[in-house]
Structure formats: structure tokens, C-alpha cells
């Protein structure tokens, strides 16, 4: 039954698939127990809108064992014959109980109603009250739309990416940057998925805002490096964002009008209770204010971005459902002769199918596109275009073969086309287009979660991945100082270089009792797309390059250990997690590297390794009129490269010793809610000059060690208040007011050096601060 046939590289993948599926079926045969079990399955939805509830808990009162709904609101449990009380729970909703008699597989659906919140009962987190204790998955933060709503960030906008940065282990890459660093990893090491499609650049306007319109978002899950085998492709984190499906019961309009931007969402049923759609849009209009300015240059400037999220779904019958979702966003920045625009677009077509014995299947067709364009119109008209396109198919299966057992397996395949730079000009300026890169990656995974013995839950999984660089094109080899030594041409579809990797994942949870647990985990992650960026906070023009004959896949191995405790009947949640991560094949640049629009950009790269370790502390008060959390991370992230700092370990740019976030939310009454956020972090590691000299009369800076200095510490306080003007079943109107950096601390965005203007014999350091005392007001409505 086991067939292992090793063939030429392009057939290797097929052989592996056959091998893996054969192994899987063996496993399943072994797992089914002697006792006959039956499957209870179904959906958990919101009773008012029909939205699926992701991560809702369904558990059996008699045994206390349960499960969570998947990304489509679907759950399944296996039990022996008998009578059971089944309870479904979700944050912000009243639990629902159903009694069932099991003598065969049965479908049990739940529709939960939002709990009429009484003061003191604002439950802000967690599905089962002690979900954090009981769930096996560690290093994960989950949010739903309700929680994000309460925290207001810059300009009064609710921002998913900024909110997750208030959690331990997840740090902002800096003010004005939407990139983030997870457990000492680089900003390109985060896999950002919107309805399963990869988002390559999650920031608008140079990083001031993220591309996620929280009106369209249903849930956000962040895995800090030890995600289950279903995910892969980036070293440090997975950010899995799911869009709302739309109200399948009645039409609704909601939105907000603010100082800088406005949003509008329209949703409703396609066929009542069977299908729904949602369209959500957002646009900024900072440039409209520019039209009023006296400055003639600003008058004709463009500065805006927009997002459009659209989704539709239809329940064909009891066992089949289809979804179509898309996102389109664009940033435009233009001043007269110069303009730059960039944007992502994603599209996913999905089919959920439930097979007879509770086996859940999801098939997705996935498209993703990131493009940026620069146009210059000064004499010569010049257009530079760069693009990355993904075409993929994903197949996932989930089932519950036995008691306390759940199995997931599947595969995905993605074809990437990278167009690094195409130039069109009105005159021939002799610029040759950079060659396109074509790559194909595949992954096959299997994961199994089970209860080993009382209190010990184990989830293990394996992911096998292949990554191939394909022709057509010319491929170069370089010597140690970066000169091209060889050029080889490959035809279309030929395999230039392939990499194969296994990524094991394991997570163990020992539940000491209802209020205490210890978890440990190990994961290996491999990354084959790398972002070349030589700036401190990332540019939309940074270039993604694939692994190749010169660039090896990046590999991370991470172990973590954590202790979790709930206090006072689950009112308080506490956790202490520690991690150690080892990184291989990390990327840095030669001195004086030229990576922009360079056909031989690979020659400018240096390869080395890294390590990161830290301690994450988290304490949260979940209920009461006053609630909130404190998160503190103590950590270190280092790199080691031949040719930098004499080959010794040096701090990575994103190394940040202390990182503290304190969030407090106070519900004064039904009309007013106040919140305050205070953040503090040690400055990033930077390279500052240690001396100076003159060349041709110009002051030059002397650099000795890389990243031996620190930016000054960053801290700020944000305050916000929400005033609910009117709230009925049909209408909701509210005002949100906020102040960003309320006590106006001069946080350093950058530090530069120059000759003193009044005394040229001296030099000085100059700090630029971006935002102080920034107020915002937004009017929100919902019909």
C-alpha cells in the first residue's frame, strides 16, 4: 500500500502527495476506537444577522469536552450513543442549550442572540470563559470586531493591525509604520491573510493606516510563530483575518464620517436566510483640504487611499455553501510631475462541502495581486511598474474520527509571478526591464489533536513544502564580492532550483485544573519569499524576491513554554510565556548595496543567522464596568553575519528590550464609554556615527559598529470617548472622540545629523517627531 517512487524533481511532488495521503488513511484507521461513536455537527450563527460565529464554543455539559467552530462557523463532535445537553457560547452572546438523543449522526444548529448587556457584564474576551486555559493552541491572540471597536488609534480610526500591537510579543515597527515585528522577527516574516488570500503590503499612506476596514472584518487571529500545520510560508507569525459575510436576514447600512476619512457599509440578504452580501468601502480625503491651501503646488496634489471589501455567500443546500470575497485597495500620492500609487487586490472563491460522516471540506481558489506604479512627467514621460501575482488552490479537510479527536489535512498550491520592474518611457532611455520571476510552491499537511490522558491535550502536525524557481529567464551566479561569474538561460517552465522542507509542529497542553494550565510547543517554519528593504520602516517600493540558486529558504525553529491562570471565577486572565527562536539564512546587505531596480540584486545580499528570545507577561480583567489589560514583553533579537561587526552577534534593528502596553476601558453608563491606552517601549537598535571627518569640505560621519546605539524610549497616552447618542433595535448613532499622544511626548520618528547652522564648526543631532496632541472626531451610524 505504501508506494515511494523517487522521480525527477517535477514529479517528486506527486510522489509525495501519494505517500502522505496513504499515511493519513493509516492514521485514521488506527484512531477509530472500538466503541462506536457518532458525529454531532452543525453551525453556530448570530440570530439577528445570520453571520457565522467563528471560534464559538460548543461543549457537552455532561463531559465538559467541547470544540470550537471553524472559520465557517461549523463544528463537529464525536460521542458514543446517549443523551446529552449541548451548549453553544460566544463572547457577547447569551449561551444556548439544546438537548439531543444520539443514536446516529445528527445535525444540531445554534442561533445565538446578543446578550442584552447589563452594566458590569461587558465580557471582552474568550469564548469559553476559560478558553485560554483549556485550548491547546498557544501563542495565539484572537479578536472579534467588538473588541477592536473599543480601542481607537490614530485619527480616531479603528485599526486591526494597531490593536494587535497592544498584545505581548507583537510590536509596532515604529510610529507611522503599519509593519510589525513578532517575537523579534522582521516585518516581512508575517503572513497576512484576508479570507485566505495573501496581502503583501498591509499599509496605506506610508504606514499610517492599515488596509483593513474594521467594519468589514469578522475576526482576527494572530499566531506568534507556532501556528498549526494548516498555515505556513512566513517565519514569525500568521495573521488570519476573516471578513463578515453580511446580514442574511435584513438590509443594513452603517458607516462613519470622520475628519480624515469616511466609511460606508451596505449588507443584506441575497435570499433570506440562505445567502447574503456585504460591500464596505473607505476613503480618505486629506487632499481635499490641500485644494484649499494657498500653496499652488499643494493645490494640485493628490493624497488619498481607498479600500473596498466585497463578499457574497450562498447556501446551496444542507451540505454545500459557496463564498466569493474580494478586496481592492489603492494609495495615490502625487505632486505635479511625480506620482506614485500602489495597492493590493485579493479574490477568493470558496466551496464548503460537508460529507456524510461530518467530514468538512473547503476548496478555495485564491488570487492575490500587489502592484505599484511610479510615474514621472518631466520632459520625458516615465512609468515604472512592479507587481506580484499569486494564483492558488487550497483544499482542506476537517473531521472528528473519535472521541476528543480532531484531524485536519489538506494541501495547497500557489503559483507566484513577480514582475520586479517594467519601464515604459516616451523616449528610449535605454533602460532594460528587470526579468520576471516565476515560482511554484506546494504544501501538504496533516494535523491531529487529541486527549492523551486526563488533562493532557496534544496537537501535532507536519507540513511538507516544496518551492521551485522556474524559467524562462537568465540566472546568475556571483563570487564572494558580488561580481557576476556565470549566467545560465532556462526555458519556460523549466525548474531552475527547488527546495523541499518538512515543518513539524507540536503543541502540548496540560490542564492542571479549571483555572490553571501549562503549555509547551515547538514549530519549524520555512519562508521562500523575502522582502528586500533597506529602510527603517519599509517602503511600498520594497522588492519581494524568491528563494533561488543564490538565496536559500529562511528557516525558523521556535520553542515556547507558558503558564496560564485565571482568577476570581475567570474574571482575570493571566499568562506568562517564554520563547526561543533560532533563525537560519537571514538576509542583510553589503555596505553601499544597490538593491533598487537592480537585475543582480541578489549579489548585494549577505546571509547569516539569528536568534530571538523573550518573556511575555499578560494580565487581563475581562468583566466589569472597568476592564482592560496590561501586557509586557522583555526580549532580545540578534543577528550574526560574516562581514558585519566582525561576525559577532549584534542586535537586530527591531530589538526592543522592554515593551509595555496598558489598556483601560471604562463604561460609565449606557451612553458613555471611555478608554485610555498607554504604551512604552525601548528604542530600536540603530547605527549612529561615533565620529566625524571632512572630505572635500563636507562633514562625513564615521560608523564603527552596526546597531550599537538606541533610539530614545518611546511612550504616549491615547484617550478616547464614545458617546452613544441613540441605540435602538433599528438604529445606532454615536460619536467617537479621541486624542492621540495626549501629553505630547516628543517621540523620535527619526534622528539625523548635520552641521550646526549658526556655528559651522560644530555638528548636532536633530530629532523629528511626527504626532503630538492629535484630536479626532467621527460620527458613526448604523441602520
Amino acid at each position: 500500500m505504501l508506494k515511494l517512487v523517487f522521480l525527477a524533481p517535477d514529479n517528486f511532488s506527486m510522489a509525495v502527495y501519494r505517500f502522505c495521503f496513504t499515511v493519513l488513511f493509516l492514521f485514521l484507521v488506527v484512531q477509530i476506537e472500538a466503541q462506536q461513536v457518532y458525529t454531532i455537527s452543525g453551525n453556530v450563527k448570530d440570530s439577528k444577522t445570520g453571520e457565522d460565529l467563528i471560534g464559538a464554543t460548543v461543549f457537552i455539559k455532561e463531559t465538559g469536552k467541547g470544540t470550537s467552530t471553524n472559520a465557517y462557523g461549523f463544528y463537529s463532535l464525536s460521542v458514543p450513543a446517549g443523551r446529552y445537553k449541548l451548549t453553544a457560547q460566544y463572547v457577547g452572546y447569551a449561551p444556548q442549550e439544546q438537548e439531543v438523543q444520539i443514536s446516529g449522526p445528527v445535525k444540531v444548529n445554534f442561533t445565538l442572540s446578543t446578550r442584552v448587556s447589563e452594566l458590569g457584564e461587558v465580557v471582552v474576551v474568550s469564548q469559553r470563559k476559560n478558553e485560554n486555559i483549556v485550548q491547546t493552541q498557544m501563542g495565539i491572540q484572537k479578536f472579534d470586531a467588538v473588541e477592536i471597536k473599543n480601542i481607537s488609534v490614530l485619527f480616531g480610526e479603528k485599526d486591526v493591525l494597531k490593536t494587535i500591537q497592544l498584545m505581548p510579543g507583537i510590536k509596532s515597527a515604529g510610529e507611522g509604520s503599519s509593519g510589525f515585528n513578532v517575537r523579534g522577527g522582521a516585518t516581512d516574516q508575517n503572513l497576512i491573510l484576508l479570507d485566505e488570500s495573501t496581502v503583501y503590503n498591509a499599509s496605506h499612506l506610508m504606514g499610517f493606516f492599515s488596509v483593513f476596514n474594521s467594519d468589514a472584518i469578522k475576526s482576527v487571529s494572530v499566531y506568534k510563530g507556532n501556528e498549526p500545520a494548516i498555515y505556513g510560508g512566513r517565519l514569525s507569525s500568521v495573521l488570519d483575518i476573516r471578513m463578515n459575510d453580511g446580514n442574511s436576514k435584513k438590509f443594513g447600512v452603517s458607516g462613519g464620517i470622520g475628519l480624515i476619512s469616511s466609511r460606508l457599509t451596505i449588507e443584506g440578504p441575497i435570499v433570506k436566510d440562505k445567502g447574503s452580501f456585504i460591500i464596505s468601502g473607505r476613503r480618505t480625503y486629506a487632499d481635499l483640504f490641500l485644494r484649499l491651501s494657498n500653496n499652488s503646488d499643494y493645490k494640485s496634489a493628490d493624497l488619498y487611499f481607498y479600500d473596498l471589501n466585497a463578499k457574497g455567500n450562498y447556501q446551496i443546500n444542507d451540505k454545500n455553501r459557496i463564498f466569493l470575497s474580494g478586496y481592492f485597495g489603492k494609495d495615490v500620492l502625487g505632486i505635479d510631475a511625480f506620482g506614485i500609487n500602489w495597492g493590493n487586490s485579493t479574490g477568493t472563491l470558496r466551496w464548503n462541502h460537508i460529507l456524510n460522516n461530518g467530514l468538512f471540506s473547503n476548496t478555495s481558489l485564491i488570487l492575490s495581486n500587489y502592484i505599484y506604479k511610479i510615474h514621472i512627467d518631466e520632459g520625458v514621460k516615465l512609468n515604472i511598474l512592479s507587481r506580484i501575482q499569486d494564483y492558488g488552490i487550497k483544499q482542506d479537510f476537517e473531521l472528528c474520527p473519535g472521541k476528543d479527536n480532531s484531524v485536519k489535512f489538506g494541501f495547497n498550491t500557489i503559483y507566484h509571478k513577480i514582475i520586479p520592474g517594467t519601464v515604459t518611457a516616451s523616449e528610449d532611455i535605454g533602460f532594460k526591464n528587470l526579468s520576471n520571476k516565476y515560482t511554484w510552491e506546494n504544501a501538504v499537511y496533516f494535523s491531529h489533536q487529541f486527549n492523551a490522558f486526563h488533562g493532557l491535550n496534544i496537537e501535532y502536525g507536519i507540513r511538507f513544502t516544496t518551492f521551485s524557481l522556474l524559467g524562462p529567464g537568465s540566472f546568475y551566479s556571483y563570487d564572494s564580492i558580488g561580481n557576476t561569474t556565470d549566467t545560465t538561460k532556462y526555458g519556460s517552465g523549466k525548474f531552475v532550483k527547488s527546495y523541499f522542507n518538512f515543518e513539524p509542529r507540536v503543541s502540548v497542553n496540560y490542564v492542571i485544573d479549571d483555572q490553571n494550565s501549562i503549555k509547551a510547543s515547538y514549530a519549524r517554519n520555512v519562508q521562500n519569499l523575502h522582502l528586500l528593504s533597506n529602510s527603517t520602516s519599509g517602503n511600498p517600493t520594497d522588492q519581494w524576491i524568491p528563494s533561488s540558486n543564490n538565496v536559500k529558504p529562511e528557516i525558523a525553529d521556535q520553542v515556547s513554554l507558558g503558564y496560564y491562570k485565571n482568577f476570581a471565577d475567570n474574571k482575570y486572565e493571566f499568562s506568562l510565556e517564554t520563547y526561543y527562536k533560532k533563525l537560519q539564512n537571514q538576509i542583510d546587505y553589503r555596505d553601499g548595496a544597490e538593491i533598487s531596480l537592480n537585475e543582480t540584486a541578489e549579489s548585494q545580499i549577505l546571509f547569516g543567522r539569528g536568534r530571538a528570545y523573550g518573556l511575555e507577561f499578560y494580565l487581563r480583567k475581562k468583566t466589569g464596568r472597568f476592564n482592560g489589560w496590561i501586557s509586557y514583553t522583555l526580549s532580545r533579537s540578534e543577528r550574526k553575519f560574516d562581514g558585519i561587526n566582525s561576525g559577532h552577534y549584534f542586535p537586530a534593528r527591531q530589538d526592543r528590550t522592554h515593551d509595555i502596553s496598558v489598556v483601560g476601558i471604562y463604561e460609565l453608563n449606557k451612553k458613555w464609554t471611555f478608554s485610555a491606552t498607554w504604551v512604552y517601549y525601548t528604542g530600536n537598535a540603530v547605527t549612529f556615527p561615533t565620529g566625524k571627518y571632512q572630505v572635500d569640505g563636507k562633514t562625513m560621519w564615521l560608523y564603527t559598529e552596526r546597531n550599537a546605539s538606541r533610539m530614545p524610549a518611546y511612550h504616549r497616552l491615547d484617550l478616547s470617548a464614545t458617546w452613544v447618542v441613540k441605540k435602538t433595535d433599528k438604529t445606532e448613532l454615536s460619536w467617537a472622540f479621541s486624542v492621540y499622544n495626549a501629553y505630547g511626548h516628543d517621540n523620535a520618528y527619526s534622528i539625523s545629523f548635520r552641521d550646526n547652522e549658526s556655528d559651522p564648526s560644530k555638528t548636532e543631532a536633530v530629532q523629528t517627531t511626527l504626532f503630538k496632541f492629535v484630536p479626532a472626531a467621527t460620527f458613526n451610524f448604523k441602520f
Binding site: F155, M206, F208, I260, A286, F289, L290, D297, Y298, A301, L333, A337, F338, E378, G379, G430, F431, S533, N534, S535, T536, S537, N539, D588, D591, G592, A593, T687, F688, P689, T690, G691, K692, Y693, Q694, V695, D696, G697, K698, T699, M700, W701, L702, Y703, D746, Y749, S750, I751, F753, P760, S761, K762, T763, A765, V766, Q767, T768, T769, L770, F771
Partner: protein, 261 residues
């Protein structure tokens, strides 16, 4: 460039970012040797200056290095030991700058020798010099036009003298994109003067043809200016060995002048 875009975006959003001078303790560092040497396609003498780096908080005047042994030789058998005219300033007496010749520099200080080589390219002449306005903002620029020789790889450095005072910016150019074409190179007027020239201002432009080693030096020296958002600032790629800072440049240049009316 990116920093300017960010500040523009911030300004548009109705805010003003602020800048302030801060005190940073950048410590002390052991001094390093800085060598600057130029040989031109015009009669000598030519100068090599030696100085040392200083700490950030010290005055900008860098202490000269005296008593070094400085030798320049060409690849046609001529060897010239330079004499120290002023502290840190060494001048040649015999050697002549000839396009096509390869020159080597040797500097010995305190038992350490630093060497460099540079090949003098052929001169490229400036066809014309004129004033024009920048497309965006009505700012003044001075421009030169010259023809890039097609069958060799050319590297250029452009130096501007404004009223006989040398502008310290480094301007480099390579013919990667423009090989064999007519090139128009423009330099904007100084920011301090609202990007405008005044009547009777006299501008002289030098077009230096340099070799690759010197081009790499000045290209990376441009990046060395901390105003860029580079995450990996580094010392420029010097064409002098053994860890010396600075450059050794054998170049041909032509120049043209113009007066603003």
C-alpha cells in the same frame, strides 16, 4: 527622499511635525586616518591631504597628520615622493597627470601603509552650460549638456562652484542608462536662497571623468548623509586599502562657467 514624502503627507494631514536639536552621547572613538588625493589632466602640482577623524562633540576642524611618507607613482616608471608643504598637506613635484595612465598612491603613517590605485579616464567636454527652471515650483537650476562616449563605460562626478565657493554635495553619474547619448545634468539653486539665483551670481561646473573605484566612493558617500532613511548606514566604499577613509582620484575634467543675469 522617503523622509520628505512622509513629512509632506504629515503636513497634508493638517499637522506639523516638529524637529528639535537633542543631546546625544555618541561617545569617543579612536581616530582613523582620512586621505584625500586628486590628480588631474592639467599640470600639477597635485595635493594629498591627511587628517584624522574626531569625536562627534569636538570641533569640525580635523587635526592634520604630519610626517607621513606619501608616494605617487604612475605605470610608466615615474615615482614621486611628496613633500609636506603645510601640516597634513603634501604636494607633488615631478608627476604629471595623463589620461590613460594608472596611478598608485602609498601613504605610510606610524608603521602602517595604505595604498590605492586609480586610472585616469579620458576627458569628456561640456558642450554647453545654461540656466533653466525646474518644472515643479519655478525654481532655478543650472544645467550642462555633454555627449557620453559610447564605446566605454563612463563614470562622472559633477562639482559646482557657486561664486567661487565649492558646493560640498557629491553628484555622481554613470552611463548605465544613457550610454552614447547626450546627457543633460541639472543642479538646483541652494535651498538657503529659496532655490533661486541672484543677479551676478557666477557658477562654474566641473565635469570630472572618474574611474569605477572613485565613482563607488562618491556614490556611497552620498548615502552617508544621515538624512536618508537607510537602515544600514556605513562608511563609503573607499578605494584605499587597510581601513583608511577617503579617496584617491585620478581624473580628467573640463569646466564651463556662466553668470546669472
Amino acid at each position: 527622499m522617503k523622509k520628505h514624502i512622509i513629512l509632506f503627507a504629515v503636513a497634508c494631514l493638517g499637522l506639523s511635525s516638529c524637529e528639535k536639536v537633542i543631546n546625544l552621547d555618541l561617545g569617543v572613538t579612536s581616530p582613523r586616518l582620512v586621505i584625500e588625493g586628486n590628480i588631474y589632466n592639467k599640470p600639477g602640482p597635485y595635493t594629498v591631504t591627511l587628517s584624522q577623524t574626531v569625536d562627534f562633540d569636538q570641533s569640525n576642524t580635523c587635526p592634520p597628520v604630519s610626517g607621513a611618507i606619501v608616494i605617487i607613482a604612475d605605470n610608466h616608471g615615474l615615482k614621486d615622493t611628496l613633500t609636506e608643504k603645510d601640516p597634513g598637506t603634501y604636494i607633488t613635484s615631478k608627476i604629471a597627470g595623463v589620461p590613460g595612465y594608472k596611478y598608485s598612491l602609498s601613504v605610510s603613517v606610524n608603521k602602517t601603509t595604505y595604498t590605492a590605485t586609480s586610472t585616469m579616464p579620458a576627458a569628456v567636454s561640456i558642450d554647453s552650460i545654461f540656466f533653466e527652471k525646474f518644472v515643479f515650483g519655478n525654481f532655478d537650476m543650472v544645467s550642462i549638456k555633454f555627449q557620453d562616449p559610447v564605446n566605454i563605460k563612463n563614470y562622472y562626478r559633477i562639482i559646482e562652484y557657486y561664486n567661487n565657493i565649492r558646493n560640498t554635495d557629491f553628484n555622481t553619474l554613470t552611463d548605465d542608462v544613457y550610454n552614447g547619448m547626450g546627457i543633460r545634468y541639472s543642479i538646483m539653486a541652494d535651498e538657503k536662497n529659496q532655490f533661486l539665483f541672484n543677479p551676478d551670481d557666477s557658477i562654474t561646473i566641473w565635469l570630472e571623468s572618474i574611474d569605477k573605484g572613485v565613482y563607488d566612493y562618491f556614490r556611497t558617500a552620498e548615502i552617508n548623509d544621515i538624512d536618508s532613511q537607510s537602515a544600514t548606514p556605513a562608511n563609503p566604499l573607499s578605494n584605499i586599502g587597510n581601513g583608511a577613509l577617503g579617496y584617491f582620484n585620478a581624473c580628467s575634467f573640463t569646466s564651463k562657467s556662466i553668470v546669472y543675469k
